[in-house]
């Protein structure tokens, strides 16, 4: 169990990276807490697995250092780092029995016989594999094999961290839920630092205390699921998290108003975006509603309305810009003259895809682009 520090870390698969595009991971500097459950979330090819392999020691980063509890482990092997890692596809030792598979990492480390027995029995029990302990691992189903892979990581109580690389890809949907719950339970019991790579937001949001959203080799936001939903730091986070994703509208900011295609939308505070930058208004479909009869809103045209069960999603156009608006159950829509109202508290201003802080908050970030 330890705290993990990424110090000026960057990685390229090329021997002589020249431009920013050559880097699979762009420079990052983060501190991950001891005992935290982190999810690395992002689309395929965003660098999640690269980052994970750097943390586990399967890959040596081209730049920067990685520290466990302050100790530099950049050049150390996975074994020396005392890391457990579970891969996307189950890795089992075919010729061994289920129990021998679980014993293997402990036996290699010279743990004594009685201790191994105890831990393996406990792990078999936890994974509900006791009945199959003496069977050869080869003939098992993919679910069971992956449980063994998980078990080989979890059986080592003293690991610094357990890393999961999309471990539930090959698992049946109902088993997925069960295994995720199991992982969560094990995390609470042993409080290992856990890092879980996935491209599935549901998986990330239910598993992790903190979600690390990655996009094109960069970490764009680290936050709790609520933070990612309420206050995305990057348009990608807004778009990737939530269903449907955040609405992004090109706009001009005028004090505490965002002007979209000539329509003024009030904001909660004053923003001062830099000149010449690409400025957008971001608002989640949950925080936009259709105006009541007497209210003044922004006129839109409705393209279609999808019923998704609990509520309906209206696909609308605001002066040509596509948007989604959530319509609560029971709300009737008038047949003509549709106007929408934005929740000023939940609107964000994005400059070149990054969220802009309020002008007079005293902590305004500067973006040099």
């Amino acid at each position: 169990m330890s705290q993990i520090k990424l110090d000026q870390l960057a990685h390229s698969y090329y021997p002589d990276p020249a431009t920013a595009e050559d880097f699979a991971l762009k420079k990052m500097d983060y501190l991950w807490d001891d005992g935290g459950a982190y999810a690395l979330l992002g689309p395929s090819g965003c660098g999640k697995t690269t980052l994970l392999n750097i943390i586990s020691g399967l890959l040596v980063p081209s730049r920067g250092r990685i520290l466990f509890d302050g100790e530099d482990v950049t050049a150390k092997s996975p074994e020396e780092r005392n890391i457990a890692q579970v891969f996307q596809f189950p890795v089992i030792y075919d010729t061994m029995t289920v129990a021998q598979n679980l014993e293997f990492p402990l036996a290699n480390r010279g743990v004594d016989r009685s201790e191994i027995r105890k831990r393996v029995d406990e792990m078999l029990d936890t994974l509900e594999l006791s009945a199959k302990a003496g069977r050869r691992a080869q003939g098992l189903t993919a679910d069971e094999k992956q449980k063994i892979s998980l078990g080989r990581g979890l059986v080592r109580y003293d690991v610094n961290a357990i890393l999961f690389d999309e471990p539930l890809t090959v698992i049946d949907p109902h088993m997925k839920w069960q295994l995720r719950t199991k992982l969560k339970e094990l995390h609470q019991r042993f409080s290992h630092t856990m890092i879980y790579v996935t491209h599935d937001q549901t998986e990330a949001l239910t598993f992790a205390d903190k979600v690390v959203v990655m996009y094109e080799g960069e970490v764009v936001q680290i936050g709790t699921p609520e933070e990612l939903f309420e206050r995305p730091d990057h348009t990608f986070v807004g778009y990737f998290i939530g269903s449907p994703g955040m609405n992004i509208l090109p706009c001009v900011v005028n004090g505490n108003n965002a002007v979209v295609a000539g329509h003024s939308i009030p904001l909660d505070t004053v923003y001062q975006p830099p000149r010449g930058a690409r400025v957008e208004l971001g608002v989640r479909p949950e925080f936009v509603r259709f105006a009541h009869a007497a209210e003044n809103g922004v006129p839109v045209s409705i393209e279609s309305i999808d019923n998704v069960g609990r509520h309906r999603i209206a696909k609308v156009r605001l002066a040509g810009n596509p948007m989604n608006v959530i319509v609560p159950e029971g709300e009737m829509l008038s047949s003509t003259d549709h106007q929408i109202v934005f929740d000023a508290q939940r609107c964000g201003i994005y400059v070149n895809d990054h969220r802009l802080d309020a002008a007079f908050a005293g902590q305004g970030k500067r973006y040099d682009y």
Partner: protein, 288 residues
């Protein structure tokens, strides 16, 4: 209730296959069976002899000698070629420009016609002018494969190892290349030693191709003919007379068609039996 239409025309579709199998396997084999139970003195004159030739072959010291030498030879080359092939495959690079270089080098001995292999080693091992033979004598070894049975055996075995280890290497290498990286990574994470990686990952994953390699090498070495025939002709004496060489001597040299046919059938049944035993023994527990 469904009624099935019976259409006997389907048999015509099987006919070409039956024809091919008949021509390349059944007819020649049955001809040999035919010879093995008859005696002949001139073309068209045959007498039925029953199991006479089989009894004669099975009780002849000459057949026992050839059979013993055959098993010894096969056992020696399998004991060398299989482990050596696996070792070479493990030592070969997994990626990079050297992969193709190694593969081509490995394939070379397999591409040389068998009688050329025999001729090459015949010259290479000559004690007066061959590099190997001359070199060994120069180093102080008394080596002459045309006169000493031990030297002859050594040369025949060495030649076979040179010729056929590549096959085992290529098969083992194919088996190794099919192992996903995740297995090696997982083993690293589990703290496995290099031996444990070999024992629990590489060997099990190579098992199927190694069974094929073993079967191929067994069958090929069990019917080895060309190379030792060109190298030693079965000598000195009959010290390197293996089953095939003996068979050809009986059939063509002495024109003992009945004996030769009975030997062929016994020979075929032995190969079949040993292969079956190997295969079932090695596949046991595979699908449990």
């Amino acid at each position: 209730m469904t009624t099935k239409t019976v259409n006997q025309k389907a048999w015509f579709l099987v006919l070409p296959v039956l024809l091919i199998v008949a021509l390349n396997a059944i007819i020649p084999l049955m001809t040999v069976v035919n010879y093995s139970v008859q005696d002949t003195f001139s073309p068209g004159v045959f007498f039925f002899e029953g199991t006479k030739w089989y009894k004669e072959v099975l009780s002849s010291p000459r057949f026992h000698g050839a059979l013993g030498r055959q098993f010894l030879f096969t056992a020696i080359i399998l004991a060398i070629e299989i482990p050596l092939g696996v070792l070479v495959a493990l030592a070969m690079p997994r990626k990079g420009p050297w992969v193709s270089v190694c593969l081509v080098l490995m394939a070379l001995p397999l591409l040389i016609p068998w009688n050329v292999v025999g001729a090459m080693w015949n010259i290479f091992a000559l004690p007066d002018i061959g590099l190997l033979g001359y070199g060994l004598n120069w180093l102080g070894f008394d080596y002459n494969y045309t006169q000493q049975p031990v030297s002859a055996w050594m040369t025949v075995v060495l030649m076979d190892v040179w010729h056929w280890t590549s096959l085992v290497v290529l098969l083992a290498y194919a088996g190794l290349s099919s192992i996903p990286d995740a297995y090696y990574q997982a083993a690293k994470i589990d703290g496995a030693s290099a031996f444990a990686v070999f024992r629990y990952i590489q060997l099990p994953k190579m098992k199927r191709v190694l069974i094929i390699a073993l079967l191929l090498r067994f069958m090929d070495s069990f019917m080895v003919y060309t190379e030792p025939f060109v190298l030693t002709g079965g000598g000195p004496g009959n010290s390197t007379t293996f089953l095939s060489i003996d068979l050809v001597k009986a059939a063509i040299g002495e024109f003992n068609l009945g004996i030769a046919a009975a030997m062929s059938i016994l020979y075929f049944l032995m190969t079949l039996l040993v292969c079956w035993v190997f295969y079932t023994a090695m596949m046991r527990g595979e699908d449990s």
